[in-house]
Amino acid sequence: MKPFKRTLALALGLAGLLAGLAIGAAPSPAADHLEAPLAQLDGRTDLNDLYVFESPDNPDHTVLIMTVNPLAGIASPTTFDEDALYRFAIDTDADGKRNRSIVVRFEEPADDGAQAFRVSGAGGSGSGTTGEIIDLGSSGHAVAGTFDDPFFFDLQAFQDQVKAAGGERTFCDDEAADFLAGTNVSAIVLEVPTNRLVPNGETALGVWAETWNDGRLDRVGRPGIATVLIDDGSEDGFNSRSPEKDLETFGPQVEANLLALSGLDGSGYTEEEARGITELLLPDVLTYDTAEAAEYLNGRGLTDDVIDLSLTVVTGGLGANESPVLTSDCVDGNDVDFLDEFPYLAQAHEL
């Protein structure tokens, strides 16, 4: 048989099989988006961000949001992995170990892309289909689906100025922009009675989000820890471990990176200061005292400008001389307004 176009099809198809899942290489890590080789393999289990804050609707409720599928529909799917487990892990005694959890599991997408899902665990239980708000009992509720990416960040300036990626952008230059404007993520949004998350009479908890499939694939507590402070090449190891040993295992590299980043202007943290901040940031658990106003680092709200705070912290702002190298990326908010009621995230952008 004459091997005309089919050999071309074979060659072109084969040569294209580098990235595998979607189109192209991973754009670059942002927040916790695309931070590790393993996470980049499948956007469905690549955790982007975790938000934990008091419900604007009900002060006795806590809202928990995890996002996956960076640039959903463009660089990642818009579906959840039916073989994976999505978990909000809750630490109630500050030891970096999980005491309670809320687990979300999905079924295979139907022909229209919708997926049945089930929530179980500390927040109550319920089941439904993506895109629908479901009841979890005790006035709790949940939704999973595609939304606007709530994270806002000048990714390229970060790459060029902090990661020395080779471009010429700097924070707050003429092209300052939210790289994630107009992009979507897949999100799981829960609103549950706070007393289901913490023991009676207690108000403090720690939360991290994690994805599992034959082992932990990704985890995130505070934004950007794995992206900024964990060494390139160590991210998969970091993601695969429980936070309890973060300080012991990853403390030295976080401390070294704090010293390096804060020393860019020649007057960085002292070793003692860097060690103290490392102990503040690790284990990578988002701490939240429900008795106090939720504002990052106490929980994380959708409008909190975590990048400005993070830049300040990692580049020297907490040292004795309080002279951070960087204080802002000049992107102060999301590109679209958040909703003032459940599910709080803005609607997905039409692609």
Binding site: K5, D112, E168, G276, D289, D332, N334
Partner: protein, 391 residues
């Protein structure tokens, strides 16, 4: 308990909160940024999916992805990230549509990204893929080597280099890299390469099994329909090579069921039907193939089928179009040289020989030498008087 541990941490939260408040106040006062945080008064139901996405892969059509990145690139003069992603989207579009100009457009997008950041490894590797697709294999190898000089362990760069080496005839070196990478990443893309190596070594059955395993592994991920179809087409291709046509048809049909515009699978079906003597089915498939992508060789084979069916007028018309397309393509797209050499073997052996010689300058794989030999034989056959001629 939790609070007491927090209290022992050196920089206390109030210091951070004050710092944050000061920073935010300063920013609000000094900088006008696009968009401000806020809340909307209107509620809205969450959308289960954005419009226009493929329900299986959850990905937008490639044309929309191209538009998405192109708009971003246009909006930001220094943005090499979006230009790189535009390049990858154009590469995918070119592969899905068989539009060879698309590879040039992708090359331009990657070059534009590198103009803005010459060290951006994804753009270097994307450019490597774009030139590889245009059969500039030595350039692709050089780009991969350049990335590896800075990051010796990058598996995507090693894979691009090995793919280029394979085409340049350095097959042992390429196969060694495939083997090594497949040991640590037994993924569908790696199994596809192992299947290619097995087929080149004459182990057609082994190639089929590896390609089938690639389907199983690939099905665990939500791939674009074109990629899902590719894995099935790949099995069909190796089955055809192994002379197992019934099974080959089954897998090629599966590919077409997923992606009706998979040109390789459609053409393979046409070829298999032609070999089986089912001219109507072959003609139907070739007509479909020509609707997907016009090419001299496709028109040429369709002409042969029409002639076999007795439609000599139609065959002549198809042959005319084939020759016209061949002339248009011959200098414009070096990646078509091998196909055109095959096309001219029975039509103009001297031209086939010239093209085979040119093909050998850009890749030195065993197929290039084999094609050259066949072209030489065809030319010699022209010079050899036939018995009838003697008479």
């Amino acid at each position: 308990m939790f609070r007491s541990k927090s209290a022992n941490r050196p920089p206390a939260r109030p210091a951070i909160a004050l710092l944050l408040a000061g920073v935010i106040a300063a920013i609000i006062g000094l900088i006008s940024a696009p968009g401000t945080p806020g809340t909307a008064s209107a509620n809205a139901e969450p959308r289960p999916l954005a419009e226009g996405l493929d329900p299986v892969s959850g990905l937008a059509p490639v044309t929309r992805i191209v538009d998405f990145w192109a708009l971003r690139a246009d909006a930001s003069p220094s943005d090499y990230l979006s230009r790189t992603q535009l390049g990858f989207a154009l590469l995918t579009q070119a592969r899905e549509t068989y539009d060879l100009v698309g590879f040039e457009e992708a090359e331009n997008a990657f070059a534009a990204a590198l103009d803005r950041n010459r060290r951006h490894a994804p753009a270097q590797l994307g450019l490597g893929q774009a030139v590889h697709a245009q059969h500039r294999f030595a350039e692709a190898a050089a780009l991969a080597s350049s990335v590896l000089a800075a990051a010796p362990d990058r598996s995507d760069a090693r894979l691009l280099l090995a793919d280029a080496q394979w085409e340049l005839g350095e097959r042992d070196a390429a196969a060694a890299v495939y083997d090594e990478l497949a040991r640590s990443q037994r993924t569908a893309p790696m199994l596809s390469r192992l299947a290619k190596v097995a087929a080149a070594a004459g182990d057609a059955a082994g190639a089929v099994e590896l390609a089938k395993e690639a389907i199983v592994l690939s099905d665990a991920s939500p791939l674009r329909p074109s990629t899902q179809a590719f894995y099935r087409f790949q099995v069909a291709h190796f089955l055809a090579e192994a002379e197992r046509p019934a099974e080959a048809i089954e897998f090629a049909e599966a590919a077409v069921a997923i992606e009706p515009r998979h040109l390789g699978a459609v053409e393979l079906l046409g070829g298999l039907h032609l070999e089986a003597g089912d001219l109507d089915a072959a003609a139907d498939r070739y007509r479909k193939a020509l609707q997907i992508g016009a090419a001299a060789d496709l028109h040429g084979t369709y002409a042969e089928i029409l002639a076999l069916q007795g439609d000599h007028e139609g065959a002549a018309e198809q042959e005319r179009i084939a020759l016209e397309l061949a002339e248009e393509t011959i200098d414009r797209f070096p990646s078509e040289r091998r196909h055109l050499a095959e096309f001219f073997l029975s039509r103009d052996p001297h031209r086939a020989l010239a093209l085979a010689e040119l093909d050998l300058t850009e890749r030195q794989d065993p197929e290039a030498f084999e094609l050259l030999e066949r072209a030489r034989a065809a030319v010699e056959a022209l010079a050899t008087p036939t018995a009838e001629g003697d008479g």
